[in-house]
Amino acid sequence: MQLTNRSKVVSNKVQSTTEKMYLPGILKGMIITGSHLFKRKATVKYPDELRPIASVYRGQHVLKLDENGAERCTACGLCAVSCPAEAITMESAERKKGEEGLYREEKYASTYEINMLRCIFCGLCEEACPKEAIFLTDRIVDVEYEREDFIYGKDKLVEKINKRIDVSKRQTKEVAEFKKLPGLKHNEVWSGKQINKEKH
């Protein structure tokens, strides 16, 4: 019975004497191997030498701090809902009085986890983020021995205050311009003063 018309007839051809000697075949193979000696190498001597990568390479994530060192993330959940691999989970908490220097807005992520094994580095979280908090960087995710170690928490994701990570190349011109708009509350930086509106 013929299921499809793509089947091939298998030949059972008897080899000729020259073919049985294998020498021409070996010679042919050696020429191919030898020719590769004069070609450009396909490998680099990692980690001494690094491959050039694009400035918009999507590697390990970073949770940015703002100019004052407060966390930008407000746990709005847009990264998690946009994530096609469902790699992001978070829990939110309310900022207490006196923590204004730590967290930019009244809500913050008390836990924020990205499972690097699930992550496909598509960058949709970065695109969805309304607070410019999460960015993908040109860093490569480290090798680990245990699967649990690939679940990155805030300790690994939030950038260190004295070791900022430059993401300026990833910010689009439109976003940079939008940020300059006056009158948008979320563009204001907390400057230590309380609500200044007089009571009516």
Partner: protein, 327 residues
């Protein structure tokens, strides 16, 4: 009475408003409404989002009305012809209304608990422009507690008066009103009176924005990560029919059931809303009907069958042959 809205004719009884008539036809012609609430008397007429153009007043007087009218407050006349989305003038005017509503709005949706089920968000996306022209400082208020279960973010309020009407009509003894005027108007429980009425929690449900939010749900979860199910329990104070929002096995929030127009079907009591946060308290009936375009239906697969049928219908229309029926 015969009335034509966006070219669709419908017969409605006397005393029906244009908005109600449009809702009878369906969501494709119904104007959005921020302040009008079917179950609250004298609501409507504040927000102007439901404006429509009346091109013919009635059969007796076929003159058009000179200005756009608020459809929630205008009753139909026999032979009235109304334009809503088909009138470019109305679409433009509504865009202006949305811009005004958003003028003092802080746009703190990433923080706000209402995000995902907020009528102002929907209105902004559907009828507004993506950019703001407003450059001045927006009004600011401190976040205050109304009672121990409700948070008031006055910055987000659009002054729709729904909560005031609820306090007036659903609960007995109003402790909740609007003070001051114009730009300085604010919702207030005057002289720090707390709402301790059994049905006071309903102001959360009627609020179209995130001005009044549930403190027991505050910052717990984003609504689109929770799963709404219809549930009931025996309650001596109210019908006990509610919508329970689950995260895994945990009840994160209890609200009243809402209909197609995002209006509460039956008001529920505070005890159901705040005090029964265990799955064992509820008899779960099944998943709630959530509109497909809502972010809440994200990652919930209730609508897959509907989608499948739609795809099959499209394929049939395009002349696709199903893979198992190919020769």
């Amino acid at each position: 009475m015969k009335v034509t809205i966006d070219g669709i004719e419908i017969d409605v009884p006397k005393g029906t408003t244009i908005l109600q008539a449009a809702r009878l036809i369906g969501p494709e012609v119904a104007p959005p409404a921020m302040c009008y609430y079917t179950k609250l008397k004298t609501s409507g007429g504040y927000c102007r989002t439901c404006i429509v153009k009346v091109t013919q007043g009635s059969t007796a007087n076929p003159n058009p009305m000179p200005k756009p009218v608020a459809s929630c407050r205008t009753e139909v006349m026999d032979g009235m012809v109304v334009q809503n989305y088909t009138s470019p003038e109305i679409v433009e005017a509504r865009k202006g209304v949305v811009e005004f509503l958003l003028m003092n709005h802080p746009l703190d949706c990433p923080v706000c608990d209402q995000a995902g089920e907020c009528k102002l968000q929907d209105l902004g996306y559907e009828n507004g422009s993506a950019k703001t022209r407003y450059e001045f400082k927006r009004r600011e208020y401190e976040v205050i507690d109304i009672g121990d279960k409700i948070k008031l973010h006055m910055t987000r309020c659009i002054l729709c008066y729904r909560c005031v009407k609820t306090a007036e009509q659903i609960t007995d003894g109003r402790v909740h009103g609007v003070m001051h005027r114009g730009d300085a108007a604010e919702i207030s429980t005057y002289i720090e009176n707390v709402i301790d009425n059994d049905f006071s929690g309903n102001v959360i449900d009627v609020c179209p924005v995130g001005a009044l939010t549930d403190k027991t749900f505050r910052f717990k979860q984003r609504v689109w990560f929770t799963k709404p199910v219809d549930a009931h329990r025996n309650c001596t104070k109210c019908s006990g029919k509610t919508r329970v929002w689950l995260k895994g096995e945990e009840v994160v929030r209890v609200t009243a059931r809402k209909d197609q127009w995002d209006e509460v079907e039956e008001f529920i009591c505070n005890s159901c809303r705040y005090d029964h946060k265990k799955t064992s308290d509820w008899v779960i009936e099944g998943p709630s009907q959530i509109q497909r375009n809502s972010v809440i239906s994200q990652n919930h697969y209730n609508h897959l069958n509907e989608l499948k049928l739609k795809v099959l219908k499209q394929q049939k229309a395009l002349g696709f042959i199903p893979i198992d029926k190919k020769p």
